[in-house]
Symmetry: C2
Amino acid sequence: MATMKDIAKIAGVSLGTVSHVLNGTAGVREPVRRRVLEAVRSARYQPSQLARGLRRVQTNVIGMIIPDITNPFFPAVVRGAEDLAFSNGYRLILCNTDNDHSKELAHLNELRTYLPAGLIVIPSTFSDLTNQAESYREVGTGVVCIDRLPKDWDGDTVTGDNQAGAYQATRHLIQMGHKHLATITGPLHLTNAQERLNGFREAMEESKLQLAPEYVQEATFDKQGGASKAALLLRLIPRPTAIFAGNDMIAFGVLAAIREAGLRCPQDVSVIGFDDLELAELTNPALSSVSQSGYQLGSTAASILLERIRGYAGPAKHIIQETSLKLRDSVASPSPGIPVKRTATGNRRASKR
Amino acid sequence: MATMKDIAKIAGVSLGTVSHVLNGTAGVREPVRRRVLEAVRSARYQPSQLARGLRRVQTNVIGMIIPDITNPFFPAVVRGAEDLAFSNGYRLILCNTDNDHSKELAHLNELRTYLPAGLIVIPSTFSDLTNQAESYREVGTGVVCIDRLPKDWDGDTVTGDNQAGAYQATRHLIQMGHKHLATITGPLHLTNAQERLNGFREAMEESKLQLAPEYVQEATFDKQGGASKAALLLRLIPRPTAIFAGNDMIAFGVLAAIREAGLRCPQDVSVIGFDDLELAELTNPALSSVSQSGYQLGSTAASILLERIRGYAGPAKHIIQETSLKLRDSVASPSPGIPVKRTATGNRRASKR
DNA sequence: GTCTTCTTTTGAAAGCTTTCAAAATTGAGT
DNA sequence: ACTCAATTTTGAAAGCTTTCAAAAGAAGAC
């Protein structure tokens, strides 16, 4: 591979001049400039990102740390970040943590030695990001946190409007006539799961609807978790007529559990999810869901990072993306025909808890 | 950040010795070794991957080029590669091409300047990878091609057994009693789509079943493509009683089109997909599909790459992963009740083609 | 104690860029 | 033509590691 030295020789100039032409770091007389450019072309020269990074103490790499690319919500986030990064000359190093904070730590430590221009992180559970990011910031490397936040985080953030989205979804269920609502939340040590629960509660309180503790179930953010907690909810008396799921994966599990229990969605139980994954329209019934753009989450994070890279040193930005309710076929009014009301038996059973 | 020089000073040895301790490149007396290691620990030293890569003409980075992380089949592939890479000290730079060979070329060119230890590529359509990889191989950088192959590729490969999988699926449909089979293939300039079509044809021929050209439709590998071509197939007379889809996304489209046409799956039309995405079990009916492990595709590719990195210089490896048929609820025997036979009208219409 | 032979350790070069101070060149003004 | 100021260009250093030849040290044989 041709090096800068080769170019300098071909063009008959010094190393410094080649660098200046390439980076526009100093005025170079036109004919010289042309000669250099021509040499670059003829030799198919491309500057070594390694040497460049070493000298500049900063590479064109952005570290992206996420729990698991295999989780259907994240690919869009990554893609959004990659697109913006790519079009600005940056590349993404992708790291999966599996929500394991020690793995996250390993990535954080190793990534540092690549001198990345910045980091985009979806923190793992119990993440130590707040402390770790300190050392990045010290050397001027931006770290933006997305989707959910680690404890005490005070840097840049991009998140969905979880509370508002959940509120909106719950409100819709209530307006459809539901009175017995339940929710299956994500892991409540995750801020996004918390906020969604808050939104749910807010709507419930606003409508003065009772919410017994057993109607709030915490699960992992996956189908498995949704299914098992839904099975549990469906056995409660009175049986909830609507379930707000902490995310779509949970909702898919709920859908499965409803079928499993011999019930129908939406006739017997309405369901709303969160995230509006592409697959939401594939299920039967198609899932109503709170839509938030993962792509935008990623691209916005990248754009904040780019600002930081270009020198913005202002206060931390906290961007909250709007959500919107995407209505499909998984919600209906509670059927008045065979309402599962408090029966004598039901009461008795319920009072056992 | 501490550098090697600092460590050398703390431990009271020379730079070279530190390097030898860290890399085991030369015997170092135990007490010295311990002193160095202790210094490394106390200073939290981590070697600069950049300087190291620059000097060694090889970094701990693996370039991974795929069409689009947003396509549900690829995350597992990436994850498989990342896991194996990570556990061996390598990191992944992720590049999306959107199947655009010029974008692929851009990535290929830029990636070179990072001196990656290797490349894992799912080639874009009309990929020029065969030529491009030449320059990588010249400097001893391995390139392994997965899922589908570019023209004239003669390097390492890992692919699913597309033909066998398709054959198996088609055979199953035939055994269930179907005689009017159709297929919606992926883009036929992709080797995997071709092979799947071959498998389909093989099974048809084996059973001496007729296959009129209009029962083979080519589509893009997505829901959209599947839906529109399925709509077309469902209007043919005789109407196919079973459709083999080139991948699951196409199959999802088929499912939608069937519903759209007022028909039922599997009673009226059976469907089998390919890939066995996680979502296949979420649809209604749950989709039967040819299962191939994306994760394994990725991890196997990474392991071949690691062998190359470690010096294996033998002939190209061509690994073909087994597929298996995953039966769910989208296939049934053709209903004998109301078979769509060649009617007089049907014949006339059909003969118009 | 000296010599030889290994084994350890060292010092410097090399890898490719950017950057800064210094040198060279240009152009305007007189 | 000559000076001065401004603009271009150069050369060398620096960034952090690995590696190779050479120097230093240890150990064994005599």
